[in-house]
Symmetry: C2
Subunit: 329 residues, 2 copies
Amino acid sequence: MKKIINDATAVVDEMLDGLTYAHGDLVERINESGIIVAKNQTKGHVGLISGGGSGHEPAHAGFVGQGMLSAAVCGAVFTSPTPDQILEGIKAADQGAGVFLIIKNYSGDVMNFDMAKELAEMEDIEVDFIIVDDDIAVEDSTYTAGKRGVAGTVLVHKILGAAADQGASLSEIKAMADKLVPQIKTIGVALTGATVPEVGKPGFVLADDEIEFGVGIHGEPGYRREKIAPSKELAKELVMKLKAAFDWKKGDHFALLVNGLGSTPLMEQYIFTNDVRQLLDEEGIVVEFKKVGDFMTAIDMAGLSLTLVKLEDSKWLENLTYKTNTIAW
Amino acid sequence: MKKIINDATAVVDEMLDGLTYAHGDLVERINESGIIVAKNQTKGHVGLISGGGSGHEPAHAGFVGQGMLSAAVCGAVFTSPTPDQILEGIKAADQGAGVFLIIKNYSGDVMNFDMAKELAEMEDIEVDFIIVDDDIAVEDSTYTAGKRGVAGTVLVHKILGAAADQGASLSEIKAMADKLVPQIKTIGVALTGATVPEVGKPGFVLADDEIEFGVGIHGEPGYRREKIAPSKELAKELVMKLKAAFDWKKGDHFALLVNGLGSTPLMEQYIFTNDVRQLLDEEGIVVEFKKVGDFMTAIDMAGLSLTLVKLEDSKWLENLTYKTNTIAW
C-alpha cells in the first residue's frame, strides 16, 4: 500500500481537519467529531443530513452547504457512524422545522440512522428519512438487504436540498423523496479494488486485463468478471442494464451522472460519457441534465458508475440546476 | 494498460466530444478541432487563452468560462498544439480588445504559441503573453529550458481571468501577469508514473514503496527518489523547498493550492493539506486562500503538488474569489 497518509487509524480525523481548513468559509467540524455542518443554515428550514462510512469523498461532506446538505455524518472508513454521532448531526441540522435523513441502503447505516431518529424524537426533534437503493447491479450484497445505495444518492442530496432551501416542509420533502428515489438507477464497472488504509491491501484483485461489472462502492461483488473491453462496450453493457430496469420509451426524459470511483482520470470519464451519449441518442432518450466527475468514490478504486434519473417531475430538473454553494457539486 | 478508452489514437477527440456534451451550457468545441471556447464572451473584453498537450484534465478546458479562460487549445496527449490550432483559438477568443496567451514553460508550447502570436498579428489581432514557470523542483528538464510550468498555471488563469472579466486592457493584464508569475511556486511528489494511452505503459516506474520528489506533469525526472514516508514528512520536504524559494518572513500572506495528479484520492489530498497547514502555522504564514483537488493532472499519475502564491497585491486575492462559471474551478 502506497498512500499519502500518516496513521492508518487516523485518516478520517486528519482528512476532516484538512477539509475544514480548506473550506472553512463553507463548513465547520463539530469539536473533534465526524460531523461536518454548513456554516450558514436558515432558521425555520428543514435540515438535511446524509453520511455513512468515509472513503467515498467528496461524498458526503463535499455536499454540505447552501442548496444541498445541512450536515454530513462521517464514520470510519467503510463503517457506519454510530447512532450517537448521527444524533449529534441531527441536532446540528435542526433549525426548528424537522430534519430529513438521506440514508444509503447498507444494513449498518439503516440501523444506526433509525436508532438516531428515535433518539432525536425523544428530544422532540421531528425526523423523517429516505433509504436510497439506486444500484441495480445485484439484489442483496455483503452489507445490504435489497439493492445498494451508491452515486445516485448525490442527486437526492441535490434535488431535496434545493427543495429545503426553498422552504419545503418535512412532509413535502418526504413526499418528493418517495417519488424520486425509485426513478434513480445506477450501475458501475470496476477496474481495480479499493484499499482501506487499515487493511493495507485491496479488498479484491482483478487481473491486469480484467474488469468486474456491478461492484459496490465498498468492493462488494458484482455480477460478472470479464476481459477489459473498449469503452463503447462497457457503456453498452451499463446502458442496456439501465434500459431493462427503466423499461424506457423513446422520448423519455432523463438526467445523467457519470461518476468516477476514485482513481479514474477525467479523460476516461469523458470518453465513456461520449459513448453513453451515442447509445442514448440511438434510444431516443432526451438527456436534460448531465454531470461528470468524482462524486461518490470507493477510495482509490478505478472504474466508474452511470446513473440515470427518469425526470417524472419537472421540479426535479429545476432543482438539479438550482443555485448551490458546496465544496464539490 | 487498463483504461476506459476505445482507440488510443482518438482519446483527445472522444474526450472533447464527451466534455462538450456534458457541459454544452458553458463551452463549445470548434468543429472537430482541439479548441474549446466559452459560450458567452463579452465584446470589447480581452480574450484569455491557455492550452498545451492534453492529459492534464481538467486543465485547460475545465477552466474555460466566465471569469477565467475564453478558450483552451488542446493538443494530443502530452504534445503541444500546432501554431494553426493556437491561431484558431486566438481568433475564437478575439473580442476586439486583444488576446492574452498563458503558456506553460515547455519548449514546444513556447515555440508554437509564439508562432501563433505572429500569425495572429499578421491578421491584425493584438496578442501578448506570459510564460508560467512555477515548478521549483529542477532547472531545465526533458522538454523545458528553465523551470517547468505546472499547477500554478491554473491560478494564473483565475487571477488574470477575473481581471479580463472586469474589463482590464491587454497591457493591464500583461502587467499583472508579469508581477504575478514570479510569486507563484510549485513543487510535487509522485507515487507512480503516468501512462500515455498510445504508449501503453508508464513513462517511469517506481517500486511499491518508493516515491520521487519533483517529478514533472509529463513524468519528467524529479530530484530525489526515496522510500515512501508519512504525509507529514512529504509535506515538510515540499514546504521547506518552498520556504527556501520564497525566503518568506513570519506574517507573509499566501494563497495555497494542493493539486492531485490524477489518481490521488481526496482523502489523501486533505490529509496532506492538514499537514501543510500545521507547517505553515509553525512558520507564521498567513494563508488567505485555499484550494484542494485535481486541477492540473498527469493523466493517471498518483501524487500531488503544492503551490503557494505570495500575495503581494491585494487584487490577486480578490480575483481568486471573484465569481466564476467554469466546469472545474
